[in-house]
Symmetry: C2
Subunit: 300 residues, 2 copies
């Protein structure tokens, strides 16, 4: 059975189709890599590519795509709504199948080392690949963005993990790392009072006392006449979807508010939903090997 990772590179070009094509081409053409989604955003002036493949193939094709991106993107001329510090802004690797987190960390390191050498690019490692606690958080690393980094990179504590101790003159710097797949999970509440969603989000999320691997905000859904607790589950293997769901349910009870439904946005690993079924059915001794499709995947 092949090792399969997901890689979701973010490039700082979301408007010029010709440039986007040049960046995406090596990814599309790579063997043992499957591009699942290509999402350019004009407002953000940013391109997010979602792909899966073997670690080796992802690494090789990412090197090519990074070289293209650095050739076509000039950060001196870049503007957009999303924070960014480089032409290749961030490259996370996540485990999908038959792969441990440590192997994602290793792949992130190998890509960082080779890209730094080949492209003369300063590179920071983040999340599980971080070399110090201060570098775990992407937003913290990226603070100051491309413009501010010209000075920030000179500070001793911001010496890059790989590559030169100065910003690339047109491509800035890149953050590469390893993390669990994010599961975007939203729960809708049968009320128009957004304060209730905000208060429940505060209760359920890690940063204000809630579940360890849950980020949450409260939102209005104007068209539906409802409000939503919008979550990013940052490690579904340790904080299950059912945990945040049940927690939202019991918090909503105090307001006499019902849950109107929920939604999963984008891709997620099957195990995140198997865990939900396992909880609600009270399954004993369930193994993912019992899933027919998992047997099929062993053939890959």
């Amino acid at each position: 059975m092949k090792k399969i990772m997901e890689c979701v590179p973010n490039f700082s070009e979301g408007r010029d189709q010709e440039r986007i094509d040049r960046i995406v081409r090596p990814l599309e053409e790579a063997e043992d890599v499957m591009v699942l989604d290509t999402a350019p955003d004009e407002d953000h002036n940013r391109l997010v590519v979602t792909m899966i493949g073997t670690p080796e193939a992802l690494k090789e094709t990412m090197l090519k795509a990074m070289a293209e991106a650095i050739e076509v993107i000039d950060m001196e001329e870049h503007s957009g709504g999303h924070p960014r510090m480089g032409a290749v802004d961030v490259v996370p690797f996540t485990p999908v199948r038959n792969v441990k987190m440590e192997e994602c960390v290793q792949t992130a390191n190998e890509l960082a080392r080779r890209a730094a050498e080949k492209l003369d690019l300063p590179i920071y490692l983040y999340e599980e690949a971080a070399t110090s606690p201060e570098r775990e958080n992407l937003a913290h690393i990226r603070k100051g963005e491309y413009e501010g980094f010209k000075e920030k990179i000179k500070e001793p504590e911001w010496e890059p993990d790989y590559g030169p101790h100065k910003l690339h003159e047109s491509a800035g710097a890149t953050v590469i790392g390893a993390r669990m797949p994010l599961v975007a999970f939203n729960v809708n509440l049968d009320t128009e009072d957004v304060e209730i969603a905000k208060e429940i989000a505060r209760r359920v999320r890690h940063s204000s006392g809630g579940l360890r691997y849950c980020k949450a905000i409260g939102l209005e859904l104007e068209e539906k006449g409802m409000v939503q607790v919008s979550m990013n589950m940052t490690d579904y293997t340790r904080t299950g979807l059912y945990q945040s769901f049940e927690m939202i349910k019991f918090e909503a009870e105090r307001y006499g508010v019902d849950i109107a439904g929920s939604e999963l946005i984008g891709l997620l690993p099957s195990q995140a939903l198997f865990d939900v079924a396992e909880y609600y059915l009270g399954l004993d001794d369930f193994s993912p090997d019992q899933i027919m499709e998992n047997r099929l995947l062993e053939e890959l």
Copy 2:
């Protein structure tokens, strides 16, 4: 994406390892076929093989395995605890991926036609492949077993669907068909009173007024000091696992009995558990395309 079916042939030999090996060898060696389980049973004197593969490959390799089985098994000398009417007793095809039930029916018909011609074997079609309502039920077809079939096959209403109008002199007759995958789902009750499990099984199963695609019996689990509602879900796409689970829960309430847990036995399709998660989380607009592994399977 390849079409994938499951095929679970039952052969009337569960004791002689040399014979078992001869039957299984063509299945093991076939390309585009993956044997998931080989389960010989000495008491039943029966061999159950679980495999998945492309329709064409399954059909070709089954023809070879049937020829082997007919060569090594003599039904005149066969005895065992499980009802049976032939050396190759029953061969069901079930849809797994990218395949419709009609295609399983077609594959069953093609195998039946070719095996009848090549092996001079009378063949009946059952379940979704049945040519009349009386032939849908396997137990009904097989009634009288090998010994009784010598006379039964002469009755006009038991003319085989394919092959000669008389029993094969050493291999009997074979039943081939198409059905949904069975999901074996057991729910344990926190009581030692087996009558409660039996009464709940009566309520939940189709045959006595319950759910359309649910078979159920009540059992004692002596070692655990509990009882169990043991179910076969015969079409999880139409009667969901959560439906039988919730029904058992509300039936158990009237006895003041709690559910102690549940278990899934053997293989099942991932969708059966996605449906459970979808129900309990109240998911709107969930699509199996959102599951990463399903994207991987598209490559097969």
